[in-house]
Subunit: 412 residues, 2 copies
């Protein structure tokens, strides 16, 4: 079973948009066990589109087109597929009713050109589009299939993940790629790979690492005919990986580091306050991006100036004079001050040199101190992060969450 | 002059990476006046790659390949191009020296497989790769040209923007697309288009709108042989657009709303403090992402709980009791409190219901109040933003900057 993609749209060739849909489709092919050997991209030009479809049908069993299903004269995918399959376009009264309903529901004035969207190749069955007006379709003829999907992302993804994934899985023999995603923070990719050793090189299940800023994700995957069959193969390997890596595996699937930390806080009835300098609010923004974060997050101070550190966090002027704003001593007093003034169980401070200016030989760009104040006192950690201002700030917020999580786990 | 792209890499077909390089290349084709009609994507398979190159050479004058130039056995682009052009691979001692130098400089142990990267089709001239080991090349034969570019982004972009752009511009006749980007905040896309009317539909220069969260960008472009020729056509139209839109055009090119606001503050010797509730630090993070922001930004409070609003900003308990935390009254007191306690010239407050929970009929998800306190007193603005928690928070921070900018402009 060989599949091929034809992406349609002049805006793709002009580079005005990036073809993320094609990548998404590629993942679904792989997950459905369908072999995917070619992708073609053509503009809104009937001759070139039809040529591309002929070529695709000559060498592949299934061709999936993306885009060109709208109502305008530039939307030529229906015509191209009809020509390439030799299956004439027919007007489908059922489709017309659907399109008219969408217009009525959205109170849009009806325009006759919309009737183009009620056409389909004679041999095609339509795929409903609950998120737009352009229906997709699956056209099967002479042992070949053409699947037509709309280009707008909000319409493309649901149609792909619904009826098209089902169709492709059936073609691929019913076995699909199932996986679990392990999320790791506080250990670099090379150390992770070293600890896992031969586990990284298994052929079934496979283990694939993805390096993210300050995190490593491991995708553990297997082709299986059912969830239970997959889980029987995945669970022992996941357990072995967790065993070898220990606490640095902070979560699975969609869990984020901030949601895990908030969960730990809530389960112990604890609250959190922040004192940010070089992250400027970025740590607070990350924590409060989690719905319901107000149950554990009290608030924070963004103290950019020395004066604000003294006035609002109670950092002592002598400390700043003796050690500077970027120091373990200041980080400790910031965390303690925030904890006391916010009345929180835990408080985290971040102070550092984000750059690009402001670095010295003794305190270079990327030097960051993190303070964690809790029921057991205060601890500080020194870091030297490489990279741009943005990277230093991102890594600082990430590391603050990693260290808070460690402190929370150690208390339990 | 017709051009075609062949992207090489099984990881593209599997959807493990998105082909942003091809989009970038498409933009450069357009900017160089080169017509771009097809793109093909194939995996790391010599037969299919050579076939794709044959097809491309049969219908296009220039073929640009992306990827497959590394040292491993999967890197087959050199071989495919040599076969398709009928120009045998030769060992280039100069290239070998370059690759060995990179290894020596990075203190990497030499491996013989690296010698693959010292090969090139006989008719090719190498393109140096200062950011990696794999050189690119331009092979010209029988009136056709094949340009080979490496896949890693950090190597691809400099090679594309340097020698390859120059090569393509010469092919395209020396005229390239030059443009100015106008950045607009505080006016929706449809209003912008309405105000500009017929200006949106000119054919040279063209005006293309791009909607961003809370912003509209307008790209004004023309094909020209020189910077001066372009500017002579662009300047009058840009002036007319600025005239019709007024102050909502906040900047051009790389300027961001936060950098423009910080510039206004600094030029008037003023400082800024923040009081954030629903944005949770996101506004501070945005402001402090600008290098040198510490010259105008003093600090901020993230007051998530009512108690923190009272204790740290001096919001009155009666105000919270009578109007609630999400109200014009609370926004005003937050801004005034932050201004006074941070000793800043200006202070901005944000309080709202970001969702997904916590909305009521009177105060639905998306309701946000922004307060601006300055030398002339305090003003508040009410907004109802649609969308997810993330969108509401982003739009809130954006609108706070828009309104601060308006207040700063009004004072001058």
């Amino acid at each position: 079973m060989r599949a091929e993609v034809v992406s349609v749209g002049t805006e793709l060739l002009l580079g005005q948009i990036v073809d993320t849909n094609a990548a998404e489709l590629g993942r679904v092919f792989a997950e459905c066990g369908v072999v995917h050997t070619h992708r073609q991209t053509v503009g809104d030009n009937l001759e070139r589109l039809t040529e591309a479809l002929h070529l695709a049908l000559s060498r592949s069993d299934v061709v999936v087109t993306i885009g060109g299903l709208g109502p305008t004269e530039d939307d030529l995918t229906r015509d191209g597929i009809a020509a390439a399959l030799g299956s004439p376009l027919v007007h489908d009264p059922e489709l017309e009713r659907t399109v008219r309903e969408v217009f009525a529901r959205r109170r849009l004035p009806w325009v006759e050109s919309q009737l183009r969207q009620a056409q389909r190749p004679e041999c095609a069955r339509p795929l409903p589009n609950p998120n737009g007006t352009a229906p997709g379709f699956i056209a099967e003829k002479d042992g070949k299939a053409v699947v037509a999907l709309p280009g707008p992302r909000g319409e493309f993804v649901p149609m792909l993940e619904g009826p098209v994934r089902e169709f492709l899985a059936r073609l691929g023999g019913g076995r699909t790629l199932r996986s679990r995603l392990l999320r790791i923070a506080g250990m670099g990719e090379s150390v992770v790979e070293h600890r896992l050793g031969e586990l990284m090189h298994g052929s079934d299940p496979t283990v694939a690492p993805y390096a993210k800023p300050g995190e490593v994700h491991l995708r553990v995957s297997t082709m299986a005919g059912s969830e239970a069959e997959a889980e029987a193969r995945l669970a022992p390997l996941v357990a072995e990986i967790r065993d070898r890596l220990g606490d640095v595996v902070y979560g699975e699937g969609d869990e984020t580091l901030e949601s895990v930390v908030l969960g730990l806080l809530q389960r112990s009835g604890a609250t959190l306050g922040l004192a940010e300098s070089c992250t400027g609010g970025g740590l607070g923004a990350r924590v409060t991006n989690v719905p319901g974060s107000s149950r554990a997050f009290v608030g924070g101070f963004v103290t950019y100036s020395n004066e604000a550190k003294v006035r609002h966090l109670g950092v002592r002027e002598e400390t700043l004079a003796a050690h500077g704003a970027v120091s373990a001593e200041t980080a400790a007093e910031m965390a303690l001050g925030a904890r006391e003034r916010l009345g929180a169980t835990w408080a985290v401070s971040v102070t550092g040199v984000a750059g690009p200016d402001g670095g010295t030989e003794a305190k270079p760009v990327g030097l960051v101190y993190i303070g964690i104040a809790g029921p057991g006192g205060v601890e500080t950690h020194r870091h030297l992060f490489p990279g741009t201002r943005e990277t230093v700030r991102l890594r600082s917020a990430q590391m603050a969450l990693v260290e808070l999580r460690s402190a929370l786990i150690a208390r339990v």
